[in-house]
């Protein structure tokens, strides 16, 4: 199927064009027909009046001519000139031809009479409109007849051409045209205005609908439209409102469900902490005692201790994550020497020997030390667990903040897993069902960086993985 050719213009322009076209066509049609009617009526009237005038005048002529009666003398040129004068009048010119003599008028000559008329006029009364020297004339041509001696009616041999000027009619028609053109222009303006107004009337709700849909898309789910009248647009607005309400309802249901589940996670984590505290309290004692136990029971105790430690990390991360989710996490900014902060972080966790640190001396920035510690600890912990040594941490100041890089030299993360490394409980290797990590570390690191207005990105290296943290100057 051929794609529809796109209209290059908007709905408003299309509406205006259509409206204007209809208005112009209608008014042109009316004006044209009206003009034709008036023009015909005017010219017919002038023609009838001129004809009857000419006929009447000719009937009154008594000058003998043609087949003469006894005692009659052929007409003299004075008599013919008199006939010419009688037929004439204001706005009229008359040419009289008697036998071969032509009595032309002031401005017109026999050549001005249309050729075919000269012959036709001998037989009957003919009329024709002609343009002579740019002026419109009604030309009436005829040959008067006379009763001959034998009682028959014979042609007189005199042909008369009366030129009736149509200047006045032309002027009237020109005035009419001008008037019609003005009326047309006014109609066009009214049409355009009407089109614009109605386009506005139609488009305003459409535009409002568009804005409302955008607002809805931007998350303002309480967006509603006023519904006026009962037309299609009103029904559309009502439908929009219903949709928005339904959306708002289901989103708020989802949100409350989400809040409930978040609350549940937070509560569970907190509840887990009490038994964990009791267990943690006796871990050191158990560890020492285990040394005195035989193989299997000692192994059992170590297993319990190891799992308590894992549970501790998991619960701590869950609490951290639920804090971030609840939006209650806040920044407590302090001036921090980065080298000290990184060294403290590694030392506290016993990682100092396994990590190479390269931080410029005296590099300091304002940040939340506890959260920075979490970021570094989670990235380094991840590198130590999943990567291969050497694990390197470098930090440098940039124009707009601080850049910390954590690099390991392991197998690296599979490319298809890259977009998900910051997802919660995401495990890069499908086969890996157990790990000492909580599965939340990287997501917590990223959330803490974002809390500072910063970012964490990950890139594959040959070999290994590079995490880059950027924190802006606050």
């Amino acid at each position: 199927m051929k794609p529809l050719r796109r209209m290059p213009t908007g709905l408003r322009t299309r509406l205006v064009i259509t409206f204007t076209l209809v208005a112009v066509t209608a008014s042109a049609l009316v004006a044209g027909i009206g003009y034709q009617l008036v023009r015909n009526a005017l010219i017919n009237r002038t023609e009838r009046a001129a004809l009857s005038d000419v006929t009447r005048t000719l009937e009154q002529i008594t000058v003998p001519m043609g087949d003469l009666w006894p005692g009659e003398l052929p007409p003299t040129s004075e008599e013919l000139a008199e006939v010419q004068k009688t037929l004439g009048g204001p706005g009229r010119e008359v040419i009289v031809r008697y036998q071969s003599t032509v009595y032309p008028d002031r401005n017109l000559r026999m050549d001005d009479v249309p050729g075919e008329m000269q012959g036709q006029a001998l037989r009957r009364l003919v009329t024709q409109r002609a343009v002579i020297d740019g002026q419109v004339w009604l030309v009436i041509g005829t040959q008067p007849h006379r009763t001959a001696r034998d009682g028959t009616i014979q042609p007189t041999g005199m042909t008369v051409f009366v030129f009736v000027s149509l200047v006045e009619e032309q002027r009237l028609l020109a005035d009419l045209r001008e008037g019609l053109a003005q009326a047309g222009a006014i109609t066009l303006i009214i049409g355009l205005t009407g089109a614009l107004l109605s386009a506005r009337r139609v488009l305003l709700p459409v535009r409002r609908l568009g804005a409302a849909a955008r607002a809805l898309g931007a998350g303002h789910l309480d967006t509603r439209l006023p519904v006026h009248g009962r037309d299609e647009l009103a029904r559309l607005s009502a439908t929009f409102n219903d949709t928005a309400s339904a959306l708002e309802k289901s989103v708020s249901e989802l949100r409350s469900l989400e809040a409930i589940s978040r609350r549940f996670v937070a509560d569970v984590s907190h509840e887990l902490r009490t038994p964990l505290t009791a267990m943690t309290a006796v871990t050191d004692m158990l560890r020492e005692e285990a040394e005195r136990l035989p193989g299997a029971p000692a192994e059992a105790v170590h297993l319990v201790l190891h799992e308590i430690e894992r549970l501790r990390v998991l619960v701590a991360h869950l609490i951290e994550a639920s804090h971030i989710d609840a939006g209650t996490a806040t920044l407590r900014l302090e001036h921090v020497l980065i080298a000290d902060a990184i060294c403290d972080c590694l030392e506290m966790r016993g990682w100092s020997d396994q990590v190479r640190v390269n931080v410029s001396e005296g590099l300091s920035i304002s940040l939340d030390p506890r959260r920075f510690d979490l970021i570094v600890a989670n990235l380094v912990g991840n590198a130590l667990r999943h990567g291969e040594p050497p694990v390197m941490v470098t930090a440098r100041g940039t124009d707009n903040g601080l850049e910390v890089k954590v690099r390991d030299h392991g197998k690296g993360i599979p490319p298809e897993a890259m977009p998900h490394v910051f997802d919660r409980f995401f495990k890069a290797e499908a086969g890996r069902t157990r790990s000492d990590g909580s599965g939340l570390g990287l997501s917590i690191a990223r959330a803490n960086a974002q809390l500072h207005g910063g970012t964490i990105s990950v890139r594959r290296q040959e070999p290994g993985t590079l995490f880059t943290v950027w924190l802006p100057h606050s």
Binding site: P275, T277, M279, D284, E334, P369
Partner: protein, 227 residues
């Protein structure tokens, strides 16, 4: 009031109480444990312990209130056991006069280190008295007096003040203070320092809101420079 060396532990959950009691006893401390603040307060009046370890969430009067009541009578060290590290109860607890806090679940080693840090005796310099106006700090007798009246400071507060006084005019950052006063060797909570400075100011400054002895250097730390 007879002075008995030992730890007073206040914790309502029996398992946690037993666990901590076992661990602390094993580390060589003498522990007396209670499950409510009221009982603990009664006991303190009768037999003053060396240190109090106080759970914040307690039935009846809570840990913060217990701490506040202890401070009304005594400057004995208090460590709070809190459920959350960056919660409001930490701030409130420190304002109420707690010397340090640990977040549950706490490793016995860490708790032991904190206890020892708080109980660490202030090393007394022999007969060393410095006076700043009417504020007299006797580093021999470990006594602070103002206009002849003795000011009671907790051991932590005293250590902080002495540390600041030892470096007059010098800015000491929070990390340094945490290390020398609290023995915290890692990134710790600087709110400890801030709260302790507030408490010392409340005791020695004529107008605590406009300090003349301990000045805040924004973003860095504190400086002792007497008027």
């Amino acid at each position: 009031m007879c002075r008995v060396a030992g730890i007073l532990l206040v914790e309502d959950d029996p398992s946690v109480r037993t666990g901590l009691e076992l661990a602390l006893t094993r580390q060589g401390h003498s522990v007396t444990a209670f499950s409510t603040g009221e009982e603990a307060l009664d006991h303190i009046r009768a037999r003053r312990p060396e240190i109090v370890i106080l759970d914040v969430m307690l039935p009846g009067i809570d840990g913060v209130e217990v701490c506040r009541r202890i401070r009304r009578l005594d400057q004995l060290p208090v460590i709070l056991l809190t459920a959350r590290g960056d919660d409001l109860d930490v701030v409130v607890g420190l304002e109420a006069g707690a010397d340090d806090y640990v977040v549950k679940p706490v490793e016995p080693r860490v708790l032991d280190a904190r206890i020892r840090a708080v109980l660490r005796r202030v090393e007394s310099a022999s007969s060393d008295r410095i006076s700043f106006g009417d504020l007299v700090i006797d580093r021999g007798a470990l006594k602070v007096t103002q206009a002849g009246r003795e000011i009671h400071l907790t051991p932590t507060e005293l250590r902080l003040l002495l540390e600041l006084v030892r470096h007059p005019g010098q800015v000491l950052n929070r990390r340094y203070l945490l290390r020398v006063v609290w023995d915290h060797s890692h990134v710790a909570d600087s709110r400890l320092v801030d709260a302790c400075v507030q408490r010392v100011r409340a005791k020695i400054e004529p107008v605590p809101a406009e300090p003349v002895f301990i000045h805040t250097v924004r973003g860095f730390g504190y400086r002792f420079s007497p008027p």
